[in-house]
Amino acid sequence: MCCFSEILESWKGVGQTVQRVLQDILTDCSTEDKFEFSIVCEECGKVWKSKAIAFSKARIHPVTEGKKVVYAALYQREKKEAHLKALKAGEKLFSRCPICHRWVCDDCFMVCEDLDMCKQCAERLNEKGSIVG
């Protein structure tokens, strides 16, 4: 029972760090002209790519140095927005296993009676459930 309490304690704060953790595995695939991000299922390796968003000044070459600075700042701002969008989209597609803390796709995540978990953990812990995907 004491051991169970300790496990529970270890869970505190997990929810607050979800975005950071998912952000860690969000890979930047952006180019000069578009912003695109991907997440890889840590169980099966399936890659999800966010919807590509074109840079508003793509294929426009700054004629002055001033414009070059402005476009660079604009690029960073739009990339940040695209990143946030990709993060939000990814959150709805990937589940974090509460046992092994990996981010897995719906095909690798199981709905169980007491606690939802990844397929690998369910097998290991001998938990019954059904695949979400």
Partner: protein, 540 residues
Amino acid sequence: MANNMLKEFGKILHLALDRKVTLHRKLMMYLLCLIMAALGILLLLLTAIGGPLKAESQIAQVMENQLHTTYNKVSEEMETYTGYSLQLSRELEQDIKNFLDEKGISVSDLNNQPEALLEVQKMMYSELNTTIRLGRSSGVFALVNATVNTQISEADKSRSGVYLRLINVSSNVILSPETILFRGNTEIARENGLELHNRWNMELNTEGLLGYQELETGLGQSESGYYWISRMNLKNTWEDVILLLVPMYADSGEFLGACGIELNDVHFSLEYPATASSYGSMVTVIAPVENGNLRLDQGMAGNTEGTWLDTAESLSIIEKNVYYSTYRSTKCDYYGIQMPLEIPGSGGQEWAVAVLIPRENCDQYILRNRVGIMGVILGFVLIMIALAWLLSKKFVRPILQSFQDIRDGQQAGDSKFKFAELEEFCGWLSEREKPPEADELPPNMAELFEHFARNVKTLTNAEYNIFRYYMNGYEVAQIPTEACVSMSTVKKHNGNIYRKLEISSNEELMMYLDLFRRCDCIEKLQLDEKADVSEVGTTK
């Protein structure tokens, strides 16, 4: 003992009377009264006017009765006339043959022999007198195929014979008929004390006897041995007659003459008087049928008084219904029915007996009848409406009184209500108006909450984990981020949650949770035993 029983009975009766009457029972009572009254009146009316309701069939029934009576009478008379005529012919035939054999002459030798012809006429008179007294005919005749004077013009159509007729053809003097000599030698009249007819003639004219010429020549012999000659006018008189003609032959086949019976139109009209009925005068006719038309001009009609029937024309059938046919004449239409009449010796001609009633009289009767029935039905309907109005007023009055009592603040249990439903309704209103107790839910709401809370207990820990986000005010779109699970996982849990909570949508779930929050009952959905497996944010 009996006194006690009476008291007990009185108590029971009192209790029964004190019982509240239900609206349904009272309405049933009134409706039953109404239906019974209506049925009673209807039965009374049907009993009273049941006959005239079937006016057309009644008219047909009356006509059928008359027709059958007439048919039987006509058939019987025809048979009688035929029988007497055949008897007469046999007797006369034998007498004439004996006479001729005795004299050793043939019938043609009697021409221009007044004495011999007188002797023959005397023989004839004897037989004819017997026949006219026994039979019921208006006249009898017999003739030999010879004339007293072959030199006169039209001698070939003049034949010696005797024609006796009744002076009075009325049937009430049939037992002692007085006869008159219409044709024959005056010596016959003198010897027998007979008067001569005012249109008397010495001999019979065979011109009007259709078929007589053929008999003379030996052609046209009938299988039945006699002939009915359709209506003809007696020469020089105003009377019409139908004649039954029976030819007489010698053993050698020589045509001796003929005899027969007369059926007079006056006699016929006296025999068949017009029958007065509610639908008009019924007249009887017997007539040949040609192409479906009744040839009245060749037949006989009974008394036509009140029927405007012209016996000198033919009636055609213009319409037939289930009951009777409509006959048309030049003057007016008639309703009637007919029956084929078999007359041997009619030469293959179809005859029929018919009974006719003027259409105008019948139509007036039917119209009067219908107006009468409609009046009765209208009266009946008005009475029923008035009765319904009175009964409904009586029925509604205590209900309105009860409503007034409710408005006046009458409470249930005051025993002033006449209907149990109204007292119950008043009680329900009182209960409803009571302010609810503090911390007390209406019974139906409490039951609903209990049911929902019981269903929440059936959720698994994982499902409850998602459910708890809803309890804490999260939207569906927020849960994946908060619970670190995908939207598909949330949706999968949602499906199970909806099924177990017996709801169908997120909106319904939100409505339940909102109700629980409003009633401060949200803690009923907290499950202590469920494992707190994830950190859930506070209500936003």
